[in-house]
């Protein structure tokens, strides 16, 4: 047993932590998150230069990492800094592109790793409520071309993307796993409309409408109708990323709350001397350690066979959903009124923690999924 990260990963995390401390203090993050773009190109470029994006991809794809623990160390740091730059997009869209066979398509990964391009993952749809196979957007073949029509919901950084990985159904009914295809859709494609907006936890997302978007044959990623496994794989890496990000955010929320309990005085003493709060703080610590273990389990399982992997991922996302909510709510409550203010970074950690439960499946969704996957193990 060894629960230490490799030296390379530790060094990367240290570099990233230092970068965030020096270049990304809360005031900067707040300004960037509220900006019209919702992130900073400059910071994005610098993260690329530090190798942060490359760490998310395997050597075969032009990176130098790409394993569960590579993703985890990076996103834990990002979570500590509440970083809004499109790294989750890189994981989701990048992983999907990595599954492609054609070299021309894979060139996008190179550009993502270099910080030159942003690829967004346009998969969620209204009414899907986190069901991964729920795809209503249609793909029709016309000669050698594909024609896409439909809508995609809450696409992170949709306005800033140069290219979208879009899921569309060429056969089957709405929740069938078979019949889903993936396409590379350039941002300037005819018939593609992007409506951007801010999100409550900082940063931006967009609604996509596709109206008879005509794509050449080489826009198809992988085999037609066989996109589900790729989506599941990309989302799996995304879940590790989000869970690790949440862990970083929880550690910061806990640190801020502990500091507050040790400095805030009421009734002539530090509020941390009240047993009612001591027990809650102890409970929060215990829960966060459970969350840390869930992230380790998920990261380790990322390369395992499907059911083992997906169960660990659902277990982690469920744990993070539950514990993230607890940490967000308890941290605000123990801060009192001040925990409700925009001025205090804590409030933004809390918002991020809650919103992570609204990305790639919430607590209830993953609990149910965990049960169903368990059933398939016994069969």
């Amino acid at each position: 047993m060894n629960f230490q990260h490799t030296d390379d990963r530790r060094m990367l995390a240290d570099t990233l932590d230092r970068f965030i401390r020096d270049k990304y203090p809360f005031a900067t993050r707040d300004r960037i998150a509220k900006s019209p773009q919702g992130f900073s190109r400059e910071i994005w470029q610098e993260l690329a230069e530090l190798g942060v994006i490359g760490a998310l991809f395997s050597e075969a794809d032009g990176g130098f990492g790409g394993e569960g623990f590579d993703i985890a160390v990076v996103f834990e740091s990002l979570g500590r800094g509440l970083v809004v730059e499109p790294l989750l997009c890189a994981v989701l869209a990048g992983r999907a592109i990595a599954a492609a066979e054609s070299g021309a398509q894979k060139q996008w990964i190179e550009k993502i790793i270099a910080g030159e391009s942003i690829a967004a993952f346009a998969h969620d749809e209204a009414d899907a409520h986190y069901t991964l196979a729920h795809v209503q957007t249609r793909a029709k073949q016309e000669g050698s071309d594909w024609v896409l029509s439909g809508a995609k919901a809450v696409v992170q950084h949709g306005e800033s993307a140069d290219v979208f990985v879009v899921s569309a159904r060429n056969s089957g009914t709405v929740e069938d796993e078979a019949g889903i295809s993936l396409f590379l859709v350039p941002a300037d494609a005819q018939g593609l409309a992007v409506r951007g907006y801010p999100t409550i936890d900082g940063g931006r997302a967009a609604e996509l409408t596709l109206q008879d978007v005509k794509l050449p044959a080489n826009a198809l990623l992988g085999a037609p109708g066989a996109g589900f496994a790729t989506i599941e794989n990309a989302v799996g890496a995304g879940i590790v990323a989000l869970c690790a990000e949440a862990l970083g955010a929880m550690d910061e929320a806990k640190k801020a709350t502990l500091e507050y309990l040790q400095t805030r005085k009421q009734f002539g003493m530090f509020i941390g001397s009240f047993q009612a709060l001591q027990h809650r703080m102890a409970n929060m610590l215990l829960e966060i350690e459970q969350a840390r273990s869930a992230v380790i389990n998920a990261a380790a399982a990322l390369s395992a066979e499907r059911v083992v992997r997906e169960r660990a991922l659902s277990a982690a996302k469920f744990s993070i959903g539950r514990i993230g909510t607890l940490v967000a709510e308890e941290s605000i409550q123990m801060h009192g009124g001040i925990g409700m203010t925009w001025e205090l970074p804590l409030a933004h950690y809390a918002k991020r923690l809650i919103m992570i439960d609204h990305q790639l499946g919430d607590e209830d969704h993953h609990l149910q999924r965990y049960i169903e996957l368990g059933r398939s193990l016994r069969q």
């Binding site: 969620d124 209204a126 009414d127 899907a128 409520h129 986190y130 069901t131 919901a153 809450v154 709405v174 929740e175 409506r195 907006y197 801010p198 999100t199 409550i200 936890d201 997302a205 609604e207 005085k265 009421q266 009734f267 009240f274 009612a276 709060l277 909510t325 709510e329 605000i332 409550q333 009192g336 009124g337 925990g339 409700m340 203010t341 925009w342 001025e343 409030a347 933004h348 809390a350 918002k351 809650i354 919103m355 439960d357 609204h358 990305q359 919430d362 209830d364 609990l367 149910q368």
Partner: protein, 402 residues
């Protein structure tokens, strides 16, 4: 045991319902029902409507312009208003200061200030909390020193108040100030009425985590306050403060708000889909909704039990702490489920969409716009009005004798 209201009380409920059906402007109910923010003018308009009917000051005795309602009638009125999506009554003047003036004010103060509360001449805000005095309210430091000049005897006030709800609309603030720094901390406090247009008063907004401006800081620098504005005796303000807090707690369970919010949640859960079926058919979500509904049913009865116990008059004591704790937990859980029901659409947040005049299309379902913001905003419920931790202390001490 009889859980029913009397025929007279039922008749009163009908009267309130028909009043709301006729007098509550649809535009306002729509705003409240859809989670939009109310303007100062909206509040003033609604309170003027209530005042015309004589129903604004439900806690006041008839001789001062109150309706002379029983505790049960007050409960019915507040409940019906909430489920009809009426704007909440801004409580600071009518529900907090009013009762204090009626009990501790002198004749001149009652004659001058009470009618102005009713007709909306003054918008009051509450100057209680300070940066160093939250749960420990008696630790207030804002000082008021007596002085005399050619214009007469007055206090000079210096210090800072915080979490002043809607202070940006107010022209008057009632404050707990320290008039004796030597005495034990509860004994050197006075209750002072301060005109916010006086030189030296400065209001600064506090932006909350949902990006809204609802609360403020109020700074006092050498503010001259006439001695006539002292309510009750000097250094006896803590008595007023405690009395006022019992009124702050009468509707603290907010059962009506929960009933309205749960009805809305059910509509949302019937419309939102998972696996092509309504979300209320999803076992996990249905269980969450059922749990909070059961809790609310229990709370309705707990609430009326407390009310029945004080039906002879007066305000509930430590029992109201139970109502505060569980009532706010229920409200928070309902807004948490509303957020959960939105799925990925809890994330988009266009702040302007919650204000009047927004013309843009919604992002996702209509109900999505306020869901996450309300959830975050409602975190305040377990903090303000005596945090739920303080309420548990009260139960431990006052009911359990620990």
């Amino acid at each position: 045991m009889d859980l029913n209201f009397t025929p007279e009380e039922e008749a009163f409920r009908s009267e309130v319902r028909s009043f709301l059906a006729e007098e509550l402007p649809a535009r306002m109910a729509e705003k409240v029902g859809t989670g939009k923010h109310l303007s100062k003018a909206d509040h003033e308009e609604w309170q003027a409507i209530l005042n015309r009917r004589g129903w604004l000051a439900s806690h006041w005795p008839e001789q001062y312009g109150g309706p002379g309602w029983t505790a049960v009638q007050k409960f019915i009125f507040e409940h019906e208003c909430a489920i009809a999506h009426a704007p909440r009554i801004v409580p600071f003047g009518v529900n907090m200061l009013g009762p204090v003036l009626i009990k501790y004010g002198n004749e001149a103060q009652k004659r001058y200030w009470l009618p102005r509360i009713l007709d909306g001449s003054d918008w009051w805000c509450q100057g209680y909390s300070e940066p160093g005095a939250g749960s420990d309210l008696a630790a207030v430091k804002t000082s008021a020193v007596r002085a005399r000049d050619d214009k007469g005897e007055h206090y000079v006030v210096n210090g800072q108040k915080t979490w002043t709800t809607l202070g940006q609309h107010a022209n008057m603030i009632f404050c707990l100030v320290r008039t004796d720094t030597e005495a034990r901390k509860q004994e050197g406090i006075s209750f002072l009425l301060i005109d916010m247009t006086t030189p030296g008063v400065e209001v600064r907004p506090i932006i909350t985590l949902d990006g809204e401006h609802e609360v403020n800081e109020v700074f006092f620098t050498d503010v001259r306050v006439p001695v006539e504005n002292l309510v009750g005796e000097e250094n006896k303000g803590w008595t007023c403060a405690k009395y006022l807090l019992t009124y702050e707690r009468t509707n603290i369970a907010g059962v009506g708000f929960s009933v309205a919010a749960l009805a809305k949640l059910k509509q949302i859960a019937a419309r939102q889909k998972k696996h092509g079926k309504p979300l209320d058919a999803d076992p996990a979500f249905a269980a969450r909704m059922a749990r909070v509904e059961i809790e609310l049913e229990n709370m309705k009865t707990t609430n009326v039990r407390v009310i029945a116990a004080v039906a002879g008059g007066g305000a509930p004591g430590a029992e109201s702490s139970m109502l505060k704790i569980r009532g706010t937990e229920i409200r928070q859980e309902i807004s948490s489920l509303t957020r959960r029901a939105m799925g990925v659409y809890a994330q988009p947040f266009i702040a302007a969409a919650l204000h009047e005049g927004f013309e843009g299309p919604p992002v996702g379902p209509d109900e999505a716009a306020p869901a996450a913001a309300q959830y975050f905003n409602n975190r305040k419920l377990s903090i303000f009005g005596g945090s739920n931790e303080i309420q548990r202390n009260i139960i431990s001490k006052m009911i359990l004798g620990l």
